[in-house]
Amino acid sequence: MLTAPVHETVLENGLQVLSVDRRASPTATLQLWYRVGSRHERPGITGVSHIFEHLMFKGTSRYPKGEFDRLLQENGMTNNAFTSHDFTAYYEVMAADRLELAMELESDRMQGLLLDPEEFRAELAVIREERRQTREDPPFGLLSELVDASVFTAHPYHWPVIGWMTDLKTITLEDVIRYYRDFYRPNNAVLVVVGDRRAEDVLALARRYFGEIPRGPEIPPVLIREPEQLGERTVSVHKAVQLPGLLIAYRAPESTHFDATVLNVLEFILLHGRSSRLYQRVIYRDQLATDVSGGMHTRRDPSMFTLRASARPGVSIETLRDALHEETGRLAREPVTTVELARARRAIEVDYVFSQESNYEIAQNLGAEACRSHWRACVESLELNLRVTAEDILRVAGEIFRPTRRTVGLLVPDPDAPSPSRPERSREPVPVPVQVQVPVEAEA
């Protein structure tokens, strides 16, 4: 139910090309998605997908470092990249007449990347700072890693996308080069263009710039499945924070499973808006939490549904936890009301229509679904969501919100808690004593 059709072509070398011709503004977004993320990593090189995302900006023989940025600037293009569990993607947002430049730059770095040892070392230092800034200092950063590591004991969703700090010190350039050779291939990529360009133009440019790149070996599938969870798991992180925090994760199905859609609707009823159940219960009525958030983690393999909250000053973490358990338990016992379901459906419809406002968001949804299952999933998602009934929600809540499927993460304020990683005395990559990662790895 997109407002414009999606054109799909698969080139001979396996590159999947998706385009949507939209005339709403004279702009376009190009996104190049690689079907590789932390899901394809192994212990010792965790974080390599994300490291690689950084290295993709280091230049090629045709466009040396700095030239890439300069060309984008000069053309008024904005760009960036992101890495997730299931994929890595690179994008340019531009006036539609600059599309060819974006095509050329992306095709050039699919194959021609220069990987200099000095650049590599310097970039690892940047990524360690990124890890400190985004995972180690924010109150919930390490707790959420610990919860992931506890929910997923065997599956690669176990480790964080950014990687363990020790791996960010010991990974080698050879590891990274092997990774590039294996995964950065046209047959492992999806090229998405949304904007004011005709599908024929997009395809012609895609053939010109990507058509000659040879197909690589097929990527072996990730077959590992997380074993059944047999009991409630409780983990905690002590940290010098002001307020206790709570992160509860329930095992949930993969994105293609209908129950994942049911959980999406349930998420609206539980968490979206001031009329939602958890806002009303723990913020408005009982005033137990400063905030509550969470929802379905949509992933290729079975994943989780999470709830996250901070307790107010003077409220115990157990009181807040019990209130959240009570509300999820209620969903498993009593059907949601007609009014609640109607409100959720309307919000999903409105979100869907507003998501059609931006080329970027359309491309983002197509690319993510193409990597997880099939791009058609995002075309069908609205209809599928609207089909969810109160009975579906009751059934799925009954199956998912069970103590034995649950991991409870506690953030415990402790002014004397040790720092996760003290400053590096040397810029050399040195093996790090085990204690550095204790809060995370002890539970891993």
Binding site: P26, G76, L124, R312, P423
Partner: protein, 432 residues
């Protein structure tokens, strides 16, 4: 590559003024069956009086807590039955209320927005509830390192001016706010003749005026609030302050000085200067020096705050505790280099082309468009200022940029704030 991107970005705006002085900006955009409504009043945090820090925010977040005819829950249910939620925001020079809905729900959205804006209940128990919410948010924010550093810097730069007030206020000021102050603040700043209602989306302007008049025409006349005090005199010396925070692994640094108002004629030149120094992400001088060459930080950015009176210029970053002094030194070195040697021809050309080329990207969504229109109103900018700014940029030379930078960036007056867990082995950085 072609350089044919349209630099003409015209927006068809229909302007009207209701009898009570409320200004209407109506922009039809028909691509999708959606519409965004934003009501902006031209006073915000800067209208807080002494001891009232946090009152603008408390007022904004109390709007959803009910109207004369609906309780908090009834109002939320009514708004959210349209698949949307009420947006409220308090900024330094404005307050805003907004709803974005499907076009078929326009009438209901318009009525609800008017009801919230003109008949807020501000019941004592609901104000008290929100006050407790804000106090608990303030407690949580003590762990938001960048926020703490930003607030401390503003406190140092703005002296006694209300621009120093943190957006949420402080634990001390919010704890002391009496419930009656919310209504008093509302009556002080919610003045029809100082307000703008922007409606962007799938609308037919001619058919809306009567309906808007019916919804918003009942807004009573009120006197405009007293203007805020003039901004404080700039500092005359450089100084550094440290915030000790246990358990953190990075130093959070921000350095800045008072600078221009948003409607200063040098604004366009300074946008280019800032782009070159630290406003352009990976390509900026600061990012190249601190991230690319030295691996000191994940990101370093500079920027000017847009304010009606004097704003400020600042540079912020996070780095390992033991790199703080080196990183700060490099930041100051880049600022000095900019002021001494100026920008290069190439930098000027690339920056100007970036702004020209990226203009179409700024007008993709209804909300983006409304933001530009409201910025124009809020700061009394020229009509279609985004195009006037581009014309100005094209006419600027290197020496124009260098002169503007020297006029408005003052490292000798920089206040520097550093937060971290410092001790004898890893001492807090000092200024050379």
């Amino acid at each position: 590559m072609s350089q044919e991107t349209p630099t003409q970005f015209r927006i068809h705006v229909e302007r009207h003024r209701l009898s009570n002085g409320l200004e209407l900006l109506l922009v039809p955009r028909r691509e999708l069956p959606i519409v965004s409504l934003t009501l902006l009043v031209r006073d915000g945090i800067a209208a807080e009086r002494s001891g009232e820090a946090g009152l603008a925010h408390l007022t904004a977040v109390t709007f959803p807590q009910g109207t004369r005819s609906r309780s908090a829950l009834q109002l939320s249910e009514e708004v959210e039955s349209l698949g949307t939620s009420l947006g409220v925001h308090a900024d330094y020079d404005h307050l805003s209320l907004g709803l974005a809905t499907l076009a078929r729900d326009f009438d209901a959205a318009l009525r609800l927005l008017a009801e919230v804006a003109l008949q807020p209940a501000f019941a004592d128990d609901e104000v008290e509830r929100k006050r407790r919410d804000v106090l608990s948010h303030l407690e949580r924010r003590k762990d938001d390192l960048a926020d703490r550093v930003r607030n401390r810097l503003a406190g140092t730069l703005y002296g006694g001016h209300p621009y120093r007030n943190p957006r949420l206020g402080s634990t001390e000021t919010v704890a002391a706010l009496a419930p009656g102050l919310v209504r008093a603040f509302y009556e002080r700043v919610f003045v029809a003749s100082r307000s703008v209602l922007a409606i962007v989306g799938d609308i037919e302007p001619a058919r809306l005026i009567d309906r808007i008049e019916a919804a918003f025409g009942v807004w009573p006349e009120r006197a405009a609030p007293a203007p805020p005090p003039p901004p404080p005199a700039p500092r005359t010396v450089r100084g550094i302050e440290t915030i000790q925070k246990r358990g953190v692994v990075q130093a959070t640094i921000r350095a800045g000085s008072l600078s221009i108002a948003r409607n200063d004629p040098d604004y366009a030149a300074l946008q280019l200067v800032n782009y070159i120094l630290g406003g352009s992400g990976f390509g900026s001088r600061l990012m190249r020096s601190l991230r690319e060459e030295r691996g000191l930080t994940y990101g370093v950015y500079s920027g000017f705050s847009a304010r009606r009176e004097a704003g400020h210029f600042s540079i912020g970053l996070q780095t390992s505790l033991d790199s703080a002094e080196l990183a700060l030194r490099e930041v100051l070195r880049e600022v000095d280099r900019l002021l001494q040697d100026g920008v290069t021809d190439n930098e000027l050309r690339w920056a100007e082309r970036f702004f020209t080329g990226s203009l179409p990207l700024s007008f993709q969504t209804n909300d983006q468009l409304a933001t530009y229109l409201l910025e124009q109103e809020l700061f009394d900018l020229e009509d279609e200022f985004w195009m006037r700014d581009l014309e100005r940029m094209k006419s600027l030379s290197r020496s124009d940029l260098d002169a503007a930078a020297r006029r408005h960036i003052h490292p000798e007056q920089f206040a520097v704030v550093v937060l971290g867990d410092f001790d004898e082995t890893t001492p807090a950085p000092r200024l050379a």
